[in-house]
Symmetry: C2
Subunit: 574 residues, 2 copies
């Protein structure tokens, strides 16, 4: 027999590493330990199991060739031994042994290792509020809870659901409950926008509007203060700092924390945030012990700062690298940019790298280009508007992040996946200008949306385009009297401008179509700041360039134009 490899945790990184080691070293004795009886399942599929897109939980635990990944499977097919329902209690690093307990029999034993992998995952955050132990209150972190949630809903015991947490899991669960089951769904997010660490507020606001349009009550800047129950111990509602929401079920999706108690107690280096510290080989501060998956933190390859990114895709990559190194292949995992994509009803939203907020917090001279082009050739019948936000550093011209919001499909994915490796390599706006995106009318535009976003960033960086901040624009539209020196200049067709003129008055909302500006620009007031408006922002930019050249320098472009504004939660649109 070769080396003894013990892997603790058998969901994503753990099994990946275990089978990789066994494939590389036939004589290795590989043991996979988990405290659960369900192992090696697609945790990211839970919302789709609850929604019914995936009918049976077994599918989440099966291979693509329909074999259930249970103890027998790992033993027979992979040659990897497994111990389920077994909790690791302590690591004796000197003796190189793990003390484990069988949760069914209570029997404890010490298991020796040559190499140990900690793939202990993460724990859901349990809010420190009353009522979290009521019946009908769930976190969404394992398959048992998913089954229990779906079971309750399927039995007709749930009419109203309150979701705590506007991250990806909370939103996906809200959709699952609303879309297939038709439940009354409320979603409460403590911060000022959804997906707070993943996208900036404009993208989040578009998402929130779409959720609301699909019947989900979204409450932002609301903290859950108490979960209410009845005498039978069942949940009846959720109290926030602003309201009380009736609910037969409360889903707590308030984030996760690395599960690192075992590592900490064994004296391994653990970060302030509780994540196990590893090097590029996924090795902890003890060279015999590796860690991978949700329990570790990685390097953010844009900022160089630490990043806690509990994503199934990264867990698998880290598991493979850990497996390589355990088997003697010095593979490296350098870090990541947190590539992210999610479906929300009929839309998709994605991101990679830093948000504007994160970039500024990290000290960058950060700005954004906000664009709203057609996602494919504008003459192709399936084309649709898509919004992109490109975050860049004005000083170094480095691109720091990309976010996209648009129709459901793989279009946003195509740009996130394209940007991610470039973000890792410190690419500049000019690099993004020339990325060679594949073009054919059913798929894209001759000038791809990603190239177009970079063009706008370049124009901003070089001072050729001056954009108004969307928040400032919305503030002005709410209270036009606040800026008596401003005028809206609508360069769309007269027909498109008309309802706005009717709503805001000819004194405030000026109409001068794009192709008449060169002839008629002298009709425009020279003593006002003109906020130039079109549908996508590109005509506005061209007009700004022209007005600059004829000595009308006080103009601002509404970036992304009305395509953006129409997708936000605004109530003043005519």
């Amino acid at each position: 027999m070769g080396q003894k490899v013990v892997v603790i945790g058998a969901v994503a990184a753990g099994p990946k590493a275990a089978v990789r080691v066994k494939r590389l070293q036939a004589d290795a004795d590989v043991l996979l330990i988990d405290q659960d009886n369900y192992i090696s399942y697609g945790g990211c599929g839970i919302p789709y199991y609850v929604s019914g897109d995936v009918s049976d939980e077994k599918e989440l635990r099966s291979t693509s060739f329909h074999m259930v990944r249970d103890e027998r499977y790992f033993e027979k097919a992979k040659g990897v031994r497994t111990m389920t329902m077994t909790r690791a209690l302590a690591i004796d690093r000197k003796a190189r042994a793990v003390l484990v307990e069988n949760l069914v029999t209570g029997r404890q034993q010490s298991i020796e290792y040559d190499k140990l992998l900690l793939a202990t995952g993460s724990d859901p955050v349990i809010l420190p509020i009353p009522g979290t132990d009521l019946q009908g209150v769930f976190t969404v972190n394992d398959l048992h809870k998913a089954i229990a949630i779906k079971d309750l809903i399927a039995k007709g015991k749930v009419g109203k659901v309150a979701v705590i947490g506007g991250g990806a899991i909370g939103i996906e669960m809200a959709e699952a409950c609303k879309d297939l089951w038709g439940l009354e769904v409320s979603l409460v997010e403590f911060k000022s926008h959804l997906l707070p660490n993943l996208v900036d507020w404009e993208m989040a606001d578009m998402l929130a509007k779409h959720l609301r349009d699909n019947g989900v009550a979204v409450h932002l800047e609301e903290g859950a203060t108490e979960i209410l129950g009845n005498d039978d111990g069942w949940v009846t509602g959720l109290r926030t700092n602003k309201r009380t929401i009736e609910a037969d079920m409360v889903l707590m999706a308030a984030g996760v924390r690395p599960r690192s108690q075992l590592a900490r107690e064994a004296g391994l280096n653990v970060s302030q945030g509780g994540a196990i510290v590893v090097n590029e080989h996924m090795q902890t501060s003890d060279p015999s012990i590796y860690a991978a998956g949700d329990c570790v933190e990685i390097t953010n390859l844009v900022s160089g700062l630490k990043l806690f990114a509990p994503l199934g895709s990264l867990a698998n990559k880290q598991g493979r690298v850990a497996g390589d190194n355990i088997a003697g292949i010095p593979s490296v995992f350098k870090g990541g940019v947190g590539s992210f994509i999610m479906k929300a009803f009929e839309t998709s939203i994605g991101s990679a790298g830093l948000t504007l907020a994160a970039a500024r917090a990290a000290g960058y001279d950060a700005a954004v280009s906000l664009t709203s082009p057609s996602d494919r050739a504008h003459f192709f019948p399936t084309q649709s508007v898509v919004c992109y936000l490109l975050v860049f550093d004005r000083r170094t011209r480095k691109v720091l992040g990309l976010q996209g919001f648009g129709p459901m499909g793989d279009g946003i994915l195509a740009r996130i996946n394209s940007a991610a490796p470039l973000l890792c390599s410190g690419a500049t706006i000019e690099d993004f200008n020339t990325i060679e995106m594949a073009y054919s009318p059913p798929f894209s535009s001759a000038i791809d949306v990603l190239n177009a976003a970079a063009y706008v960033a370049e124009n901003i960086c070089d001072g050729r385009m001056r954009a108004i901040d969307i928040r400032e624009y919305l503030g002005y539209m709410h209270d036009p009297d606040s800026r008596p020196d401003w005028r809206l200049l609508d360069v769309r067709s007269v027909r498109e401008a008309e309802p706005f003129i009717n709503a805001f008055g000819t004194g405030r909302w000026l109409s001068l179509p794009y192709d008449e500006v060169r002839e008629r620009y002298q009709e425009l007031p020279r003593d006002k700041t003109l906020v130039i408006v079109c549908n996508a922002g590109s005509r506005s930019y061209e007009i700004q360039r022209f007005l600059d050249q004829v000595d009308y320098p006080n103009t601002l472009v509404l970036p992304g134009g009305m395509n953006v504004i129409r997708r936000l939660n605004v109530d003043w649109l005519p």
Copy 2:
């Protein structure tokens, strides 16, 4: 007035450069010249206009905000003068003047320039065979022909169409004629497979099968020898070296050649292939003269060789760079990898970089990884098999190219766009291993198809996986007696193996399910070469690893498994 800029050619690169210059230099006098009256149109949209997806040709000439891009538009909206129906006859480099002729009036004039841009595009290849001048014979290179083609079809004058050329345009036109109009369509390609320079034969064969399944008669390795006509001068058929095809219309899509006569006659450097030679600033051998679009050749950023890639996406990028440089901004266009995507009925096919054939021709020690995974989480209901071919160099481990074939949608695009910038930077298999592809079950797998393709490439490079060449496998299946020392080892379920055992006999097609190999491998013959078969290739690889370790070294994996074989033109499948 500032500098005089003359642009010859007003389809893609030309207009892009012209308006860019004008935006950057308000005082520039920019003149756009074209021999046609239709300018600035989406030529790549022609097949979709013919198919009816795009109802009016005006849409191909319009902006996203529905303004037709005609002379008036460029004048009024862009400040760019245009002369249409005007042909450039000669360049007087000393005098810095272009002699042009108005094709309507016949009037000639000399136009001075400070900077000249040649965006003269390409000419369709007219085959040197009899009958190309018959009525009903068309090339597919401009909007007039597109209108004439659609007009004839719409009037019911066409029942049978023969397409010459199995490149992208030929295939798109075949689909347009078949899918919407229900015509009888034959497609003839001189080379041994479709899209000959863009994909390798496996991908092309999948595409050919899909076209045939959709009713297009695909004839490969057939050269058109004569176009047949009746006494009225109308086409009646197409003769090839193998057959005669009845046809009321013949579409010649046999490729394009750079249109460079003007440049050559002016003494500018022109390549052997006829392309105008430019530097990274899109500058010709005369510093006052630039060139961009289909008339130039670029650097293949993978091989360093020259690349003729007449693509609308590149033309626009080159136009922008030319515009920048004309206006004094030293932008660069480094070259490309030929990112390509196309729709064919219900499928999409894409590529970037070098094919295996091109890589070997360029001297690389090239090999491929062929995979056929699910395009998204295999438990997600919309998942579908997709095939990828990753081309790499065994010596340097550099990835040289990527090809994909799968269902229609943006999934292949997402991987081509991700690979393209990495191909430009000389990325290795290991870089592709760790590209951070965004994951969520409705979009992708935790281990993305692109990462998985790289994993297989790594396993091949490191000698951990030995694959059989698909052609060799197909040859064997056609004549099993040719290799009496070979056996098929089917590691799928017994139920899946059964029809194959019935067809090929238990002596030849062995069944031993994946999860029973570790227990029963000694039943396998040691003196035979085992060709291991599953659906996607991954189980076969695992079994090869195991058999290596228990001293059964004579095994070969069928890469991509039956998922690949089922998509090829084979007639022996049970």
